[in-house]
Symmetry: none
Subunit: 408 residues, 2 copies
């Protein structure tokens, strides 16, 4: 169970406790009391990570070696099969005027962009390359350029969230003297220009304008990244994996890792997500997979909004959800349960921090320690001491008995 943004810092209105420490979490506490606990650094102490990097580490990748950028992760998340060397970019449907000044980076937060995306997918560009273009959640989409000799070292056409009113930017190589980046930038510029030509008079946009809604009349790009070959968790170990998440980045990393993703529209990746449905899918996942990751986004969002009481309440909901999962298991004694987060998000700073997150592992054979509750400070005394996300994952797999001996 990965609780996004779990870790926090002492909060005055919670009596100097963190939301997790102040929350009433009988399930987590029982697991901590009868399991082994510790503190986990996503990468290493003092390194603040994003949800993408935190999850890469928890899924067994070394982000320092293989960080693709968000584009390729999102591309995998929407079902595109990437080859090493492909360049993928995150995109927004946006609204521009006739001078390509960006009026709204999200085209009025348009949803259901399938018909618009369809006229862009497969668009022929230069050098015999066709654009691969797929819609993602809400106004988001993904562009992939597949071919030899590309580079992801290019700037964004999206002027960025603080720069509405600026024109769509020309994509350029990030540094001079990079012919591959020059070529790739030209392909992206070509795509952006053609997207305007194909979308401006699209029926969907005529209809939106008729209703007084902003048209999604262009696609703007950011976050280019190149797909690299990495050995996935399911290639390294003989396990069947399953991930329950409503979040496209986490879904992308899970798919890259060879995991099946169970999701549906009830999982919103927000605090209104359906935790009963998440519990149900977790139990379903455990029936067919050896290793099930259930990701819950809400705690992170409440912390970004500096709402410690909402974070506390959401953590209590997750505690009840996990108890429900355990109560539904036919053979709880055969299941290892681990709870942690992908990073800390202290409410007070409304931002991810490098504080380590508490972690617990419960199951057969663990060296039960003296820790009596699940919290940032309690777990600092745990038997796992302080470990890194990769090491935590391997320790869990080792308890499960699926690791290999190095040496003889």
């Amino acid at each position: 169970m990965i609780i996004d943004g779990l870790g926090d810092r002492p909060i005055d209105e919670l009596g100097g406790l963190t939301p997790l420490e102040a929350a009433n979490t009988p399930c987590f506490d029982l697991l901590a009391r009868t399991g082994i606990t510790g503190l986990m650094d996503p990468l290493s102490p003092g390194i603040r990570v994003g949800t993408d990097v935190g999850h890469l580490a928890l899924f067994g990748y070394n982000p320092l070696k293989v960080y693709w950028g968000r584009g390729p992760i999102e591309a995998v998340g929407v079902g595109i099969d990437l080859n090493p060397g492909d360049v993928a970019l995150r995109c927004n449907f946006a609204t521009v005027d006739e001078n390509l000044i960006v009026l709204d980076r999200r085209a009025g937060r348009i949803r259901h962009t399938e018909a618009l995306a369809a006229v862009l997918d497969g668009m022929p560009l230069e050098n015999g390359i066709n654009a691969i273009f797929k819609p993602a959640t809400e106004h988001r989409a993904v562009l992939v350029l597949s071919g030899p000799r590309l580079s992801a070292d290019i700037t964004n056409s999206d002027p960025g969230p603080t720069n509405e009113g600026q024109p769509v930017q020309e994509v350029k190589p990030k540094r001079s003297g990079q012919p591959l980046a020059e070529k790739t930038a030209q392909l992206v510029n070509q795509f952006v220009r053609k997207s305007y030509e194909k979308l401006r008079n699209h029926d969907v946009n005529r209809e939106r304008m008729g209703k007084g809604l902003l048209p999604a009349n262009i696609v703007i790009t950011r976050g280019a990244g190149m797909a690299v070959k990495m050995r996935s968790l399911t290639e390294r170990f003989d396990i069947k994996g399953c991930c329950i998440t409503g979040e496209s980045t986490v879904a992308g990393i899970a798919i890259m890792s060879g995991f099946k993703v169970l999701t549906n529209e009830k999982l919103t990746a927000n605090i209104d997500t359906d935790l009963d449905e998440k519990a149900r899918l977790t139990v379903e996942g455990l029936k067919e997979a050896d290793f099930v990751v259930t990701h819950i986004k809400g705690a992170d969002l409440t912390a970004h909004d500096n709402k410690p009481r909402e974070k506390l309440a959401f953590i209590e909901q997750m505690d009840r959800m996990l108890q429900k999962v355990i109560d539904s298991l036919d053979n709880p004694q055969d299941v290892y349960i681990a709870v942690t987060g992908d990073h800390s998000t202290p409410c007070a700073i409304r931002e991810h921090s490098a504080d380590p997150v508490p972690v617990l592992i419960h199951g057969d054979g663990v060296l039960v320690d003296d820790v009596r509750s699940f919290g940032e400070r309690a777990c600092a005394h745990g038997g796992l001491t302080r470990i890194r996300a990769n090491d935590f994952l391997l320790s869990l797999l080792d308890l499960m008995g699926v690791t290999y001996r190095f040496g003889s």
Copy 2:
């Protein structure tokens, strides 16, 4: 003192304690109480290691960079002086029929193979290469091919322990398109064929068959590895080292490290080993060396057999043995004593695991912590916290005052 396979997991019949926790170990406990303790990962958390890799790390090597495979370690252990680029293979004297079907991979567990080995050592092969062949313990031996442009990336001629009744396998490159591996495989195949020709009618075998014993009429190979150049512990630090062990792998690593090995037939690398003799040799070693490693195999073997009470009893014997060593020292206050294991071997899984092992260091100047006994869970609260085998070794050497300052 390296207790092979020391670490374990909670065991019901020991009241939920580990063998080390349940054992009566007044010497270890006093050293823990008046020393500094911690948990040690052989490589890093979650990585399960073999005895070879665990000892490489404890002798200061980085196994991720320099793991030779078992062949070269065993070759050094039997006294062969390897050059970088040499390929070494572990061998068994075996019994085959006239169709080279393996009837017994150990030739009836033959001992004293010196006369048989003598007719194979120096055998001329192709390309001007002569086989170097030396007997090891019981039915085991080592083959070294010394020359330029060889490769260890080859398969085994030994069909393996679960495949008796299969023919001797043809050695091949592990992957296609490897001309050096192709050439090396041919040399090994040639050696194996010739070994049959030279051994089948050897006097020793005629005599064995006369007694109804299986003839050692062929040599089969496995575990090819290439010698690489590594800076040894005694090259990195100005120390004189000595190792007391009955185990050929540990002896090989100690010799590679520039240590003198003290051993004799009373050290069996089994639970019947003579611990009094081991204590005597340890005291003898301390008279001439700065750094003495005493390795004891028995605990690991009892754990592989899932015999927790035997493991406990053996640990108690080791505790008494260490007390005997301390009592024999003229100047115990001038000696640092460290106790740990090369890896954990939980009885319940009868196999090495990645669980960290407890470690203690006793001696002048250590920051004595609050830990009152030597055990897996007690040491999780120790002042060394959780460290890696390489780091533990360097910390011990630093206390001894033989390390160098990095920087000025």
